[in-house]
Structure formats: structure tokens, C-alpha cells
């Protein structure tokens, strides 16, 4: 039985098969509309997450399956003190596959250890969020036609952003990737990632200002710079505008650059950018449904 806990749980070849399946689902959704008839997905969300939960539920419904679950810890037995291990044992009797989100890091690993059904990590605290990474990768693969030979800029909070760390790890397995890390000093990419890139001899550079590097990028991955991450208000005010993508900055970028964002967006991408064809963050959400459909089929062995 397979689970998806970490984006690196799947080999490059397995990911390739998953993305090919997701692309086929995009083109021929009718072929998959009944694949999961009689199957149930349990969405066990110990903390609220509208987007991820609805994406999973939509994916299962698109496949003809049904959905059960809870959307916050207060409406589950966790509020009575039940452990994750016990909850998943019980859920295994009700459903065929489970997507779990939990505020504690490693909760999905515990679930997978005790589960009788495949477990998908739908986010475990600040640790991993593998289906977001798969979504990001499918978006790039579908719109660029490849997952190698490009320069990707990651902009904003690179220190605490789990989506950023997962994406770097996942892309570092492909050839010809160059990273540009665009962040204030306070939110630099962690050293262990820098060490990993150096060890694998993957080229990267770190810059402070988005304008300085946007012209070199094939992909720009935006994240939110949160006020509470800064030590003082002065630094925040001084730096925050560097990390807001507006039309003026986008005008410096290549015609075929893609702008991705894991969402929710607050103010780091100006609304005026939304109509630019390079802004693909809403398309990204649609790809998230396709990749979750492909993942459910793969883990249930229905391919």
C-alpha cells in the first residue's frame, strides 16, 4: 500500500506517470468520471483549510466517488483526546483513502504507520504539503511542457515557506534547473537547502530585489511576506514593496515567464497583474484538482 507523505516519496519516473495521467484527465475528463464509483475519500482536517479540502473533495467527486470527513478538530474525536493513530484506524473501516491535514508536524507519518488505507498528507504544520508541490509541478509541466532546463525565481518568505522548500527539493532532481532566491536578509532560504544545492552542484543565486532578477526568469514563484516575520516595523516597511509584484515589475519580465503562487494571495501580487496572461495562479488551482484526481487513482491502484 502506498501513501504520499513527502513530495520525494515518488521517484521522478513515478511522478512522470502521475503527471501524464493528470494531463489525460484534463483532456478527457469523461473517461474518468466513474473510475471511483463505490469508493469513499475521508478528508480528516484537524485545522481549517477551505482550498485544499475542497480541492480533494472536488477531485473525488469528479471521479464518481463520494466523500466523508470533518473539517476541524472540534467536530472530531480529537476534541475528546483521541490520538491520530486511533482515529486513522477507525477511519480505515469507513473509507478507502484518506487525506489528512493536521497542525502538528509528522502527523501524516503517524497516520500512515497505523492506517489500513492509503494516506495523503494534505499538510502537516509547517513541515510538508506534498499535493501543493505536485500542483506546482503539474502547472509548470503543463504550461512549459517540461520540468527541466529553466530558471525559477522564488520570491518572498523563503525561510518559513514550506511550499518553497518542498518545491526546491522536488525540482532539484531534474536537469538544468537554476534557482534565484529573492528575499530580504531576514527571510533567506535556510542553510540546509543551500548545502543540499551546493552538494548537488545545482546553480543558484540570492538577491534582495525582485527587479534585479525578474528579467532572467522562466518562472516566478511568489509567496507572501508576512509582517509578523520581521523583527521591527521599520524593516518591514522598507522591504515590503520589493516583494510586491505589480505591472511595472512584470513589464521587465520575459514574454513567456509564468507567475505562480500557492494562494491565498494578500497584497504581494497587485490585482492589475491578474489579467496578464503570464499570471497563472488561478489556473494552478485547476491543475491542483487534476493532480489530486491522478493521485487518488494511483494510490487506489485504479489506473
Amino acid at each position: 500500500m502506498r501513501h504520499l507523505i513527502n513530495p520525494l516519496d515518488f521517484s521522478v519516473e513515478e511522478l512522470d506517470r502521475l503527471f501524464t495521467l493528470a494531463s489525460d484527465i484534463e483532456k478527457n475528463p469523461q473517461n474518468y468520471a466513474h473510475k471511483c464509483e463505490g469508493k469513499k475519500l475521508a478528508t480528516c482536517f484537524y485545522e481549517p483549510s477551505t482550498r485544499t479540502r475542497l480541492s480533494f473533495e472536488s477531485a473525488m467527486l469528479n471521479l464518481g466517488g463520494s466523500v466523508i470527513g470533518f473539517s476541524d478538530a472540534n467536530s472530531s474525536s480529537a476534541s475528546k483526546g483521541e490520538s491520530v493513530a486511533d482515529t486513522i484506524r477507525v477511519i480505515s473501516c469507513f473509507a478507502d483513502i484518506c487525506a489528512i491535514r493536521h497542525p502538528k508536524e509528522g502527523a501524516a507519518t503517524v497516520a500512515a504507520t497505523h492506517s489500513g488505507i492509503p494516506v495523503i498528507n494534505a499538510g502537516d504544520g509547517g513541515h510538508q504539503h506534498p499535493t501543493q508541490t505536485l500542483t506546482d509541478m503539474l502547472t509548470i509541466r503543463s504550461l512549459k511542457g517540461r520540468l527541466d532546463q529553466f530558471t525559477i525565481g522564488l520570491c518572498g518568505d523563503l525561510k518559513f515557506g514550506r511550499t518553497v522548500h518542498s518545491l526546491i527539493n522536488a525540482l532539484s532532481r531534474y536537469d538544468g534547473i537554476r534557482f534565484v532566491f529573492i528575499s530580504p536578509e531576514e527571510l533567506r532560504i535556510p542553510d540546509y537547502i543551500i548545502d543540499m544545492l551546493k552538494e548537488k552542484q545545482i546553480p543558484f543565486e540570492e538577491v534582495i530585489r525582485l527587479e534585479d532578477s525578474i528579467g532572467d526568469l522562466d518562472i516566478l514563484y511568489m509567496t507572501r511576506v508576512q509582517r509578523e516575520r520581521f523583527f521591527n516595523e521599520e524593516d518591514y516597511i522598507r522591504l515590503k514593496d520589493f516583494y510586491i509584484l505589480d505591472q511595472a515589475k512584470l513589464d521587465l519580465a520575459r514574454e513567456d515567464m509564468l507567475v505562480l503562487h500557492p494562494l491565498p494571495r494578500v497584497n504581494e501580487i497587485a490585482v492589475e497583474v491578474d489579467k496578464d496572461p503570464r499570471a497563472v495562479y488561478f489556473k494552478q488551482v485547476q491543475y491542483g484538482v487534476y493532480v489530486r484526481m491522478a493521485l487518488i487513482l494511483t494510490l487506489l491502484d485504479l489506473v
Partner: protein, 142 residues
């Protein structure tokens, strides 16, 4: 110089960082065995200044010494048979350590989930880095 009677069969764990012998005594679960144990604290050492030594009289192979390599690779393990040092055992870092150290990450699931074993996995053999199996947090304290 302090003299402690020699042992016939067992282990002499030498070059233990001064003050750490009792920690090791408990981690090797020597408190749960009938083995005769001598704990020598703050012995003079040319190499280390001060060191601890543990002498354990027990059948060779009856103690799991894996955890020693994780704690301190500088510890020397002398294997004693028939009152003589037969050989010095090389310490190899265990691939996994269970219930020896605890994850200190307050965001880790181990901080709230009852009955969960604390498991650390060797992630970098060269640097001797262990990470929590659940949150992948690095363990860096002895």
C-alpha cells in the same frame, strides 16, 4: 591512580566525556541488568584531561552498544574475554534510534500523541546527523 578490579568477560568503555557515564549507564539500560558495573568518574586522562570509564562484567554480545556511536564516537569499546582485551570494537552509527532521545520540537506530533515511540533516523552518516522520523527536525544535543 585509582584501581578497580579487572573483569573476566565484558566491556570496558573508555574515553567517555567526563560526567556522561551515568547517562550512558541508563541509556544502555544497565540499571535493568544484574551485571556488575564499575562507574569511574573524572579519571585522569592524558588525552582528555578528565574522562569517565564504565566497566561492565557481562557475556560479550549481551548489551546493545549501538547507541554509543550516536552519543559520542570518541568512546573506545574494549571487548574483554578471559581477562584480556580481545579487540576494540568499532562504533557504527545506528540507522535508527528508538526511545533513546526525545524530539524537542514543540510543533512535532510527538509532543501531543500518546504512546508514540520517539524514533530518530540517521540522515547524514558523514556528519552523524539524526532527524526525527516524524517532523524531520535535526537532533543536535548530547
Amino acid at each position: 591512580m585509582l584501581n578497580v578490579g579487572k573483569i573476566e568477560e565484558g566491556y570496558v568503555l573508555d574515553h567517555i566525556k567526563a560526567g556522561k557515564s551515568l547517562t550512558i549507564y541508563h541509556l544502555l539500560e544497565l540499571d535493568k541488568t544484574d551485571a556488575q558495573v564499575a562507574i569511574i568518574k573524572n579519571a585522569r586522562s592524558n588525552k582528555m584531561g578528565k574522562k569517565d570509564i564504565l566497566k561492565v562484567e557481562c557475556p560479550v554480545g549481551s548489551i546493545n552498544l549501538d547507541v554509543l556511536a550516536f552519543l559520542d564516537r570518541k568512546i573506545t569499546v574494549n571487548v574483554i574475554e578471559a581477562g584480556e582485551i580481545m579487540h576494540k570494537e568499532d562504533l557504527i552509527l545506528p540507522k535508527e534510534i528508538k526511545n533513546v532521545i526525545k524530539c524537542k520540537n514543540p510543533r512535532c506530533i510527538t509532543s501531543i500523541e500518546q504512546g508514540l515511540p520517539h524514533i530518530f533516523v540517521l540522515s547524514d552518516e558523514k556528519k552523524g546527523i539524526y532527524r526525527c522520523k516524524y517532523c524531520e527536525g535535526k537532533y543536535n544535543e548530547y
